[in-house]
């Protein structure tokens, strides 16, 4: 560094720089790290003696909590899988499908908005669309399709997944676009010259290169859905007992009758979102080697 060659270049001393970053670290410790660690510690504490124990974690395996985790994982996985597939197809269609150029900025802008349009208002929008008296429900009934008669209900697994897709698909589009842009035209041309069909190019070249990005993005979508609560709460109340809603009820009124079991529940959530985010970052780092 040039600062080493000319030691007294800046008048602000080194401790001044440390003072400048001080508030950031103080904030991080007080409002990010300490609260989280405090929960993690609580998850390993006995509720009566405060001594170290694994019993809180082991008690997560009771049927009702296990059911919550399974439901959360299923909804997050379904919305991540469909979000990734549809988002990828949409991005490929607009970026590489030979469609008019103005579609690209339109899709990107809309994805920026829609991936941020979540929570309570999104639940309202889907009630007005696919609720019992929703616009699309009534429209379909007019043409003879009764979706509620056929067993559809917005306030179920399928309805919630369909609602989550409204922010999952746009997020996928935003995350996977750089990877698709990273596919160089020369690779396609080279494959063509060597006699490969378009199908072979996609199967043997493009898809293997995109694969880490697709997998990573899916994991990001999974974590994104797993931590979500506002949309589900506004849509289904506590009808679908996913982990965030169970945790919400626990914070509100200690429904588990055991604060430390609540901390263990939070630890489980953190573990799942943490691991999927880590895997996403690892896969993105791998994928970036191609995009450069």
């Amino acid at each position: 560094m040039s600062a080493v060659q000319t030691p007294r270049r800046f008048r602000i001393p080194q401790f001044g720089a440390w003072l400048g970053v001080g508030p950031f670290f103080l904030f991080a410790v007080l409002f990010l790290i300490w609260p989280t660690i405090s929960l993690l510690v609580g998850a390993f504490q006995d509720k009566d003696t405060g001594g170290f124990t694994f019993s809180n974690l082991l008690r997560l395996w009771q049927p009702s909590i296990q059911h919550s985790y399974m439901l959360s994982i299923e909804i997050s996985a379904a919305s991540a899988l469909w979000g990734a597939i549809v988002g990828l197809i949409l991005a490929l269609a607009v970026l590489r499908g030979g469609l008019p150029d103005w579609l690209r900025p339109t899709l990107m802008t809309f994805s920026g908005v829609a991936s941020n349009f979540a929570g309570v208002p999104l639940a309202f929008a889907f009630m007005a669309t696919l609720g019992r008296l929703g616009f699309v429900t009534l429209l379909l009934r007019k043409v003879g399709i009764d979706i509620y008669g056929a067993g559809f209900n917005l306030f179920t697994f399928m309805g919630l997944t369909l609602t989550y897709l409204y922010f999952q698909i746009p997020l996928m589009v935003l995350v996977v676009t750089p990877a698709i842009d990273g596919l160089k035209r020369e690779w396609n041309e080279a494959a063509e010259i060597l006699g490969a069909s378009q199908f072979q190019y996609w199967r043997l070249i493009a898809f293997p290169i995109l694969w880490p990005s697709i997998l990573g993005a899916s994991l990001l979508l999974f974590a994104n859905a797993f931590g979500a609560i506002a949309t589900a709460y506004a849509l289904t109340g506590s009808f679908l007992n996913i982990v965030p809603i169970l945790l919400y009820a626990q914070i509100r009124g200690d429904v588990l009758h055991d604060p430390n079991l609540g901390y263990a529940l939070a630890l489980g959530m953190l573990l799942i979102t943490g691991l999927s985010n880590l895997a996403y970052l690892y896969l993105r780092a791998r994928a970036d080697r191609w995009i450069k």
Partner: protein
């Protein structure tokens, strides 16, 4: 027209249908309040409601306070990390990514455990304390986006030369940060600020669990008790998100994404 192109058109059309249908449906529903004809009655009801005005104002004030505090924390940090403490870059980046990894519901649980009424620092015991705690929570939510946009903006200017020039003119560190650096990275701060605003304005989990009279819990309450107003509010929320994104592109020229805000 070849097969690829036809497929692409089908995908784009289906996508457009899926994304437009809820918007059209919600808008149509919000106009149905008066029997037999379309009207803006639902919007009028919402705007006239004292709870709407109070909760919206509360959330706007929270958002502005959040933006100011986030800027004050992030700008000096990103500046000193770039100029004097490059060794800290990895650690600082890791910390700014934490709010994307820790679910909001877990973080607020930690706050209530740590700052609840029976703890060492009982912030939730007073109104002001709770308001401050909510704001610090929102600073966490905005941190990843603010840090990234400020850092990108700092990279695009010559921080070293600007600092040396200002110092040779006798400027102190506060003057350098606020009168030299800050104006040069204004676009980065603004795009981070608008994204933070979009996240904070309708936030539900933090506000609800800290019992604050914010816009998010108000929305939820209306959803549970009214028929047409929720649709009007959803349209307004969507328009607000559009406005924020529009302003970001106006100032920053990039497509923002806020993964993990849910």
């Amino acid at each position: 027209m070849n097969g690829t192109k036809i497929g692409a058109w089908i995908a784009a059309t289906l996508g457009t249908l899926y994304f437009l249908a809820p918007l059209i449906a919600t808008f149509e529903f919000s106009l149905r309040m008066r029997r037999g004809e379309y009207s803006f009655d639902a919007y009028r009801e919402v705007f006239a409601s004292g709870d709407f005005q109070a909760s919206f104002l509360y959330s706007v004030v929270q958002a502005v306070a959040t933006i100011v505090v986030t800027t004050l924390i992030v700008v000096p940090t990103a500046y000193f990390v770039q100029l004097r403490l490059p060794k800290l870059r990895g650690l600082v980046e890791f910390i700014t990514l934490l709010p994307l990894v820790i679910p909001v519901i877990v973080l607020v649980f930690g706050y209530i455990k740590l700052y609840g009424s029976s703890s060492i620092l009982p912030l939730t015991a007073t109104e002001t304390g709770s308001d401050a705690l909510l704001m610090f929570g929102y600073v966490c939510l905005g941190l990843p986006y603010m840090y990234r946009s400020v850092e990108t903006a700092l990279r695009s200017i010559d921080v070293r030369t600007l600092t040396e020039a200002a110092e040779s003119q006798g400027a102190g560190i506060v003057t350098i940060l606020f009168r030299v650096i800050l104006p040069n990275i204004r676009s980065g701060i603004l795009s981070g600020a608008f994204l933070t605003f979009a996240i904070v304005i309708g936030e539900f989990t933090f506000a609800s669990l800290l019992d604050r009279p914010a816009f998010g819990p108000y929305l939820q309450l209306i959803g549970a008790s009214r028929a047409y107003e929720p649709s009007a509010l959803a349209i307004m929320a969507f328009a607000l998100t559009w406005a924020c994104m529009g302003l970001i592109m106006l100032f920053g020229g990039r497509t923002p994404s806020a993964a993990g805000k849910r």
